[in-house]
Amino acid sequence: MAGLYVHIPFRRASRTYDDAFTTVSGAEAFPEYAAALERELIYYAQQHASDEPIETVYAGGGRPSLFSLANVRNVLQTVLNVFDGSTIREATAEVNPADATPSTLSALRSVGFDRLQFDVLSFFPDDLDAIQTPHTAQEAVRAIREARQAGFESLSVDLLFGWPGQPMKHWQANLEQAVDMNLPHVTLVEWTGDRSDFSGTPGADGTDAAAPAAGGEGGETAAAATTQREAEVRTAKQLQTAMEILTGEGYEQYELTHFAQTGHASEHQKNYYAHGNYLGVGASAHSFWWRQRMQSIPARRWANVRDVPRYQQLLSQQYPPISFRETVDWATLADEYITLRLRTREGLDLRRLRAEYGRNLQDEKASLLDTLVENGLAETDDRTYLRLTPRGLLVADGITERLTR
């Protein structure tokens, strides 16, 4: 299977809590962007349609729910014209709770979306103030209720952790709130903003470490290292807490940051972490396409230009809107496969790694595999699968790095 990602990079104001590419603009910009998306789908994405069926669609970006419904409908119609609509099993729209009016939700439903991803981040008003979200806690709760009323069963919320000054009690309560609301899917999002210009105030719960930004001008490396170590300890604890609460309540952690009740795992996300093919359309979107998965057939990866006017201009002149492309060699593909699979519950299929990617970890890294198991960081089924334990997941990058060199 393959996935299709549609990037809609619009928002109303800049925000502190992530680093996805977005652009601030008003509604007048939408029709031209929609037209460009349609062009990209027809001119370029269509070339791949015969290789493999598209089974998932994901519309994301800054705040795609700002996009007018007419535009959404047109783009989605083009998707269905270009690809075989009967193979699409899942269509997710990212929605900001502030935009989740009943009419928008039912319209999304009517054009064919069956799954919603809400940028809730937190259910605490003072948290949302600190991280400066465009929505309120009330809107978040209402959005979920309205979505259910509009007939959406598969709902997911993003919960944000790791921001300076985040009260541990709030984090725990947010996770419990998601469980209480019986949300079938929770995505954990780690704060990636720049710590130096974060102006959030520490939460009501004063027991947590003070916001590092407060002492920013000191700038000494020892202090920075201490802050970093404290942040590491704090985020480790937050991740651990999330794992305990959610898996304790019957959610499956099918990927490090993705938790789902049975039957609600996102097929689109699972495809990413299975190293599956995906096409990304829209400014700054990434694509990965490896036809037939054979060494003799080159795997390609490309990314579109980030600048929206440039993206539109290239497409209007019938040029590919691409700023970066590469052929991924076999060894890199193996590294990628290891990286992605180690983050999943299913784990890394060592036999497949050897057969499809030519990498024999069972022999090449035998002693490292033993060490990982002995130290309780990984489990292995008779050396055919390698699966990280909760403790291993927390240091997955370090493990990946050692396994891939």
Partner: protein, 604 residues
Amino acid sequence: MPDQSQIRNFCIIAHIDHGKSTLADRLLERTGTISERDMQEQTLDDMDLERERGITIKSHAVRMTYEAGDGEAYTLNLIDTPGHVDFTYEVSRALKACEGAILLVDAAQGIEAQTISNLWLALEQDLEIIPVLNKVDLPVARPDEVAQSLEDLIGEPAEDIHRVSAKTGEGVDEMLEMMIDRVPPPQGDPDAPLRALIFDSIYDSYRGSVVYARVVDGSLEKGESMEFMSNKKQYDAEELGVLRLGRQKVDTLNAGDVGYVIGSIKDVQDTRVGDTITTVNDGAAEPIPGFKEVKPMVFSGIYPTDNENFEDLRSALEKLQLNDASLTYQPETSAALGFGFRVGFLGLLHMEIIQERLDREFDLDIITTVPNVEYRVDVQKKGEEDTVIVDNPQDMPHYGDIEAVYEPFVEADIITPSDYIGNLIQLCEDRRGVYGKQRWLDTERVQLTYELPLAEIVFDFYDTLKSVSRGYASFDYEFIEYRESDLVKLTILVNEEPVDALSTIVHRDKAYNVGRKLAKKLKELIPRQMFEVPIQASIGRRIVARETIPAHKKNVTAKCYGGDITRKRKLWEQQKEGKKRMKQVGTVDVPQEAFLAVLSMDDD
């Protein structure tokens, strides 16, 4: 060719920074050998590294013509000597090519350790010593006092000691006249069979080894067949010449001359400093006495960070050896570091220079292990007695088989302002020194003599000496003998695995302390891993210290959408770059500094 009576062969001996190179520059100017305009600062030191460190590593020679006050034109051959303790043998051979030496002493700093060690070397060669005070123009100069201490040292009346400023040129002409007057002309027999002393050689990639020699007896003609007496190797003298600022060809080198010889000599090992050149036909019966093979005193493992660069490292060492016959190396393997070389050096400075040149000139990422000396170990195994030479801690025999261990001792001369004498005595005692003598050079400066194990000097002695004396003490040493010591091998285990490259040989009395500090230092230096890593130090079977490096709490990027993987890959590449100087020991990443941790332990 000038008559021997018109030749003066001399050198300048001085402590580092006492102005030898500046004085040499003035001489080149005064004799018109080089115009002021062409003068590059410190012309004789032509390697970058030498200029940067203000020391002369390789000696060179230059020929000058000087019209003296008596109206005669004299040929002056200035033979430049290396100024550092590691190159004592080279210095002694360069001195042997001269009849006189200018003993140059900084009038502000006074006599230093190298002044004395080089002076003894010059006296051993029966050279005419001309003491000269330099930098008399400095406001802090104290010429009368320094002259008095020189009188005490060599007996030259203080008031007769000549004063110059190499910087301004003041007193330089008088010094030249004095030298022509006092340094005897060469006394060799021009009609005897050829005997020429090699005092240096350099490698020229087009011409092979270029030999610098002083003709003592006889003469050498262009085209003649010559023989190196120590190894009986024969070559044709294709080109002869004298050294101005460049090479200047001549047809004959006669008794008393200093010059160069080129003969398609591919292997610099054939042209050893101190050897005698003679002619193949009617050659000399006996070589000039005093030739010896220089032996490395300090050893260190040098490994490529990336094992794939092993051959690059080998070819770099080969190239360095072309210009430095005293450098020795042989391949070795370490379980922790893979394939590398055990490299032998004349001393610590020599080692640092080689390491830096590998880095700078060959752009090689290398890991060097803690330097050590060569031990002699008596072993008894299955009733059989044997003596083994150990220049690498990992070759130390099993502790159960060892009967006795012997280590090299040196005699060290330390010269210091009297304020620091307490600190320095403490330092030497800490380093297992045996007190020799103490002598006042003048009202403020003391010469302190200790016998010390070379291994203790190799461990950071020089830096500590400088720090406890605020940089004022100077130091020089000379090998004396091997002595029995109670030495043990201290093994370091990382993650329960012994790491050969971290092991050291230490005195039993210090082993516990060193083990404890080393484990502590390694804990600081080794970054946290995915799991806890114990660091242990053991002597024989006994664990004497244990530290634990805590595991990483979190090392994972939460957000990693499929599309982000290129960003992630860039991050890996950066990390890999940062890990260049890391070595994987088992499953633990160990940075380069850890292999030198023993050198940077706190002395608390």
